[in-house]
């Protein structure tokens, strides 16, 4: 019997639940020498803003225990250059293409979403709400349920595509933000973004990152991510995508068992650019061995 690996994420049909996390996979092309992109459930590209961004000054990354901190600062080519220069190449794959978007004002998000309405081959939008809202004193959209709902609704109102809202873990209660985004019309949620952290050079007594703080990713954050996905799944009825420290198929299965309908692989792509294909192979082997014919039968089967 043929194994069914397909999942549906709020109107976005994926051939399998494995996607690449935004910011860890460039615009896809960077990986084409090392991976058959057609294997992936979806490619999620580097976060796009209305205008190109240079990002932060170096140093931008530092290794930490079982992970890394980054303060790249959302460097990207801008949404128009993405559509003109990057998307035509990426469209040749038959994996779904998801564009991650961000802005500093609600108007920015809306404009980027509107521009993407006319882009052929884009299957969904993922909204990064971890950015500071410059019009509201720099408070992150994603750390306030009212702002999170506002940006979600604004993007939903203009977009013709399924809208995934990507949540930040840097909040007291992530379920509150999750509920707010759901009520505002989000088609799905993805979590977690990186956890804010820092690292100091004790010889020079300076931060390792020029930006002082950065986002922690890698296996160090997986237990936190898993706990947050589990909490959110219980509170919302829209699909949840698990992200955080996934290194192998076993990690993916943990997220699916707690209730994530799909996952994103991030930092692991840096260590092994072909890791997602290995993960998909290993997941299929696990399902066959357990006699599970449809991956959906595994999702949310945690016994407590």
């Amino acid at each position: 019997m043929k194994l069914k690996m397909g999942v549906n994420i709020g109107g976005l049909a994926l051939k399998n639940p494995v996607m690449t996390a935004s910011g860890t996979f460039g615009y896809g092309e960077e990986y084409s020498d090392y991976l058959d992109l057609n294997r992936l459930g979806a490619v999620i590209v580097k976060g796009l803003s209305l205008e190109p961004r240079e990002g932060n000054s170096p140093p931008r990354i530092i290794e930490t225990a079982s992970g890394m901190l980054n303060a790249v600062g959302l460097q990207n080519v801008g949404v128009r250059a993405f559509i003109n220069d990057k998307l035509p190449w990426l469209r040749r794959t038959d994996s779904s293409i998801v564009t991650n978007i961000f802005g500093e004002t609600i108007e920015d998000y809306v404009k980027v979403a509107e521009i993407l309405n006319d882009a052929e081959g884009v299957a969904a939008i993922e909204v990064n709400i971890s950015c500071p809202n410059v019009k509201r004193g720099g408070i992150a959209f994603g750390s306030d349920p009212v702002l999170a709902a506002e940006v979600t609704r604004a993007v939903k109102d203009v977009s013709r595509l399924p809208v995934i809202v990507k949540l930040t873990p840097n909040v007291t209660d992530i379920t509150e933000i999750a509920r707010a985004a759901e009520a505002a019309g989000a088609d799905a949620l993805s979590l977690i973004n990186t956890i804010t952290g820092m690292s100091v050079d004790i010889e020079k007594r300076v931060p390792h990152l020029k930006n002082v703080t950065g986002g922690l990713s890698g296996p160090a954050i997986k237990p936190v991510a898993l706990r947050m996905v589990w909490e959110v799944v219980k509170e919302v009825s829209i699909p949840v995508i698990g992200i955080g420290g996934i290194m192998n198929a076993r990690d993916v299965l943990e997220f699916l068992i707690v209730g994530a309908k799909a996952v994103q692989v991030g930092t692991a792509n840096f260590l092994n650019p072909g890791v997602t294909a290995d993960i998909i192979d290993d997941m299929e082997r696990y399902l066959s061995e357990k006699g599970i014919n449809d991956i959906n039968d595994l999702i949310g089967t945690l016994k407590i």
Binding site: E30, E54, P58, A65, S66, L271, P273
Partner: protein, 253 residues
Amino acid sequence: MVLKASASFRESIPGQFVMVRMKDCNVPFLSRPFSIYSVHSRAGDTFIEIMYKVAGKGTEAFSRLREGDILNMLGPLGRGFDVHSECSQIILIAGGVGIAPLSFLAERYRKDTASAEIICYMGAGSSEALVGLDRIEEMCSVVKISTDDGSRGYSGLITELFERDMGLYSDNKSRIYSCGPNPMLRGLYELLKNRPFSCQVSLEERMACGIGACLGCVVKTKSGVAGGGLVRVCKEGPVFDINRVEFSEDNGY
């Protein structure tokens, strides 16, 4: 360290690098970039040699490896040095383990342009740190040495030693190649900035992926120069024309 590699590494260009990671182990977590020191084939197998100095968690872990251990390696990566077969004089300026890609380059020049004169300026902290000296001496007509502690050769910076000799070289005959610590490269930039020498440098930055995706290794290049702005050391580099790099404190130099 010598690593058995796939046959595709035979095409490696001097200045290119590899990303090396301990297998199935999260300490150290990220892969480490190393310039290729040499490539050779034996009995149908391809071997890559890299040079490292124990400086942190990654290189310390490598120092504990034993013969036969298996590592993950990605490469060859990045843009290497331009080799000009018509060139008659090659000047190499190395700091510490920066000798590795320059030694590979010298080997290539010896093979491709047997008549080219190769001169090497090799600086290190002390005489013990002059690793790779025997090999570079075989390929060069002159090797000039400096050490920070004066234990061998000139006592001081290698760029000072080069500065003294600069009058001997002419910009239309010589090409300069350099690799070493950031302050050394900056010093060299200052020496060369008003002279028309052709000089390529290999830069070193922390990086996570080595293939242009993480954007961790970017450096600023001079705007106004073609292709200015931020560039990725792993993809557009690690080799750049010295005049393209912005040697400022803000850029980590």
